[in-house]
């Protein structure tokens, strides 16, 4: 019985969290237009979430692309269609790996930074101090960070896919000897605009989801060392699960 009760209470907690996330999303969206009046604040956050994540995104993109080139080549060779490697790599990267892996890395790199920063601001009374100075911390601190993440994420995903494609080409064409002309021309012929749209929609949605979770966890962190560390952990875990769940939904809706 106690297992059932635990299950029930954790289901209720989860639902409550989803509700709070939705309410926060509405509040952030409503506050967003005004935030663009302070474009410098958003710019600083795009730098924090985006530019500072570039190295990890580019390196990971390169390696993921190289693996894709290797695996794709091995597989396609069995059917004698190595020339399709360009198509396979491009579609795999743009539609799936680019947005998903970028979102996971983004949650680990930028999301945790956001959550712990906000949590520490809460723990050291910085948010209360703003309240006391008649400055709304949501408008001044949370919204720019949220928007910075939302804007940075699609850009990072695009860079990831581009570098990934270079990596696939590096292995497939330069090392395994796939014909360069057919690699690129097949890719250009068969990757449709719909594929790219799917990638863009995914990276936008993941950007909103990961940034939202990070600012929610940070802003509502229990103001202790343990509370901040829990908020950081939950940011990564929840972002990853939500990203993969949303990935399925969006993929299905594009079919």
């Amino acid at each position: 019985m106690s297992v059932l009760r635990d299950l029930r209470s954790s289901a209720v907690d989860t639902l409550a969290t989803v509700g709070e996330l939705a309410a926060l999303l509405v509040r952030l969206t409503a506050a967003s237009p005004r935030a663009f009046l302070r474009i410098d604040l958003i710019g600083a956050q795009i730098y924090n979430a985006g530019a500072l994540s570039l190295v990890i995104i580019m390196l990971s993109g390169l390696f993921v692309g190289m693996v894709l080139g290797l695996q794709g080549f091995q597989l396609l060779q069995r059917f004698g269609s190595e020339e399709a490697l360009g198509t396979a790599a491009a579609i795999g990267l743009v539609k799936e790996l680019g947005p998903v892996v970028t979102a996971l890395l983004f949650a680990g790199r930028a999301g945790t930074a956001l959550a712990s920063e906000l949590g520490l601001m809460r723990a050291t009374d910085q948010l209360s101090a703003m309240e006391m100075m008649a400055v709304d911390p949501i408008q001044r601190v949370v919204v720019p960070r949220f928007l910075g993440g939302v804007i940075a994420m699609p850009l990072l995903a695009a860079i990831f896919s581009m570098i990934g494609l270079y990596g696939a080409q590096l292995i497939g064409v330069q090392i395994m000897g796939v014909d360069s002309g057919s690699f690129w021309s097949q890719m250009r012929a068969s990757v449709a605009i719909g594929d790219i749209n799917e990638g863009i929609v995914k990276s936008l949605v993941f950007g909103v989801a990961c940034s939202l979770i990070a600012v929610y966890e940070g802003y509502n962190a229990v103001p202790t060392a343990e509370g901040v560390s829990r908020a950081t952990t939950r940011t990564v875990v929840n972002s990853a699960v939500l990203t993969l769940f949303l990935d399925y939904l969006i993929t299905a809706s594009f079919l």
Partner: protein
């Protein structure tokens, strides 16, 4: 002691956290233009009281009036309007750690005014000069000592020329020199700027030297009030225990606990 109406009036205030009553029927009046000290043992809710006055928390029942306004009924814009007339010094300073000293002090000006950069700079310099830290203008909060942090936070708290300055435990963890500096600043800012100061503290000697009026809180109520001299002369047990720093008295040394021997002899811990 003042003919003018008090700037802060608290009547029949009740506030509880998790079933434990922090305040039960608290009454308090803070006269305009004075330095009022709120003292009491740790855990009596002194900081909570400041948060109730500024509506960072809401009372369960009772009235808190600041400048004639009932803070509990204010809309958010009206509350922010009221808070712009107050400055608060947090226990740890609460400086924004990603901004340097100059930007921290300039923060309220940048958020609330459209002043030209030159004027903002002059205002910040004047306030920092008043707290003696004009030379620290380019330092980051992490590079400041505890006393300096609090002085920068103080400069930020009065950069908008508030009517009321609230100090939450301004002396905790300070060396005697920094403590003396903060004490003198509290008195001087109060007199020179003609503001009202409320200081929450349990440093009896220090605060007695600058306060006009002292409220002593215990058990959710005001147990004594008066000038520091009146309180020093007070014969009641609670006041004597607190002012004299005695370990046991009406405020017990022991946190409520079950029978000592019974617990020592019990085999499996409390039953």
């Amino acid at each position: 002691m003042n003919q003018a109406p008090p700037i802060i009036e608290i009547s029949d205030l009740n506030y509880a956290v998790g079933g434990r009553a922090i305040f039960s029927g608290l009454d308090m009046q803070i006269p305009r233009g004075s330095v009022t000290a709120i003292m009491g043992p740790s855990g009596t809710g002194k900081t909570t009281l400041l948060r109730l006055i500024t509506r960072q928390l809401r009372a369960d029942s009772g009235k808190v009036r600041v400048g004639g306004l009932d803070v509990d009924s204010l809309t958010r814009p009206a509350l922010y309007e009221l808070r712009r007339r107050m400055g608060m010094l947090f226990q740890n300073g609460a400086l924004l750690t990603d901004l340097d000293v100059f930007e921290n002090v300039a923060f309220p000006l940048r958020e609330h005014t459209q002043l030209p950069e030159r004027l903002i700079r002059q205002l910040v310099l004047i306030k920092l000069q008043a707290v003696g830290l004009r030379g620290a203008i380019d330092l980051m909060p992490a590079e400041l000592s505890g006393g300096m942090t609090r002085r920068v936070a103080l400069a930020r708290a009065f950069v908008m020329d508030p009517e009321i300055l609230l100090y939450d435990e301004p002396f905790v963890g300070l060396d005697p020199i920094s403590m003396g500096v903060i004490l003198r600043l509290i008195r001087r800012l109060n007199d020179v700027l003609g503001i009202t100061s409320i200081v929450v503290s349990h440093d009896v000697q220090e605060i007695s030297s600058v306060a006009d009026l002292v409220y002593l809180l215990s058990g959710g109520k005001v147990v004594a009030q008066g000038t520091p001299q009146q309180l020093q002369a007070d014969k009641s047990e609670v006041v004597r225990q607190f002012m004299g720093g005695l370990a046991d008295g009406p405020v017990p040394f022991h946190y409520p606990a079950p029978d000592y021997f019974g617990e020592l002899l019990a085999r499996d811990g409390p039953t």
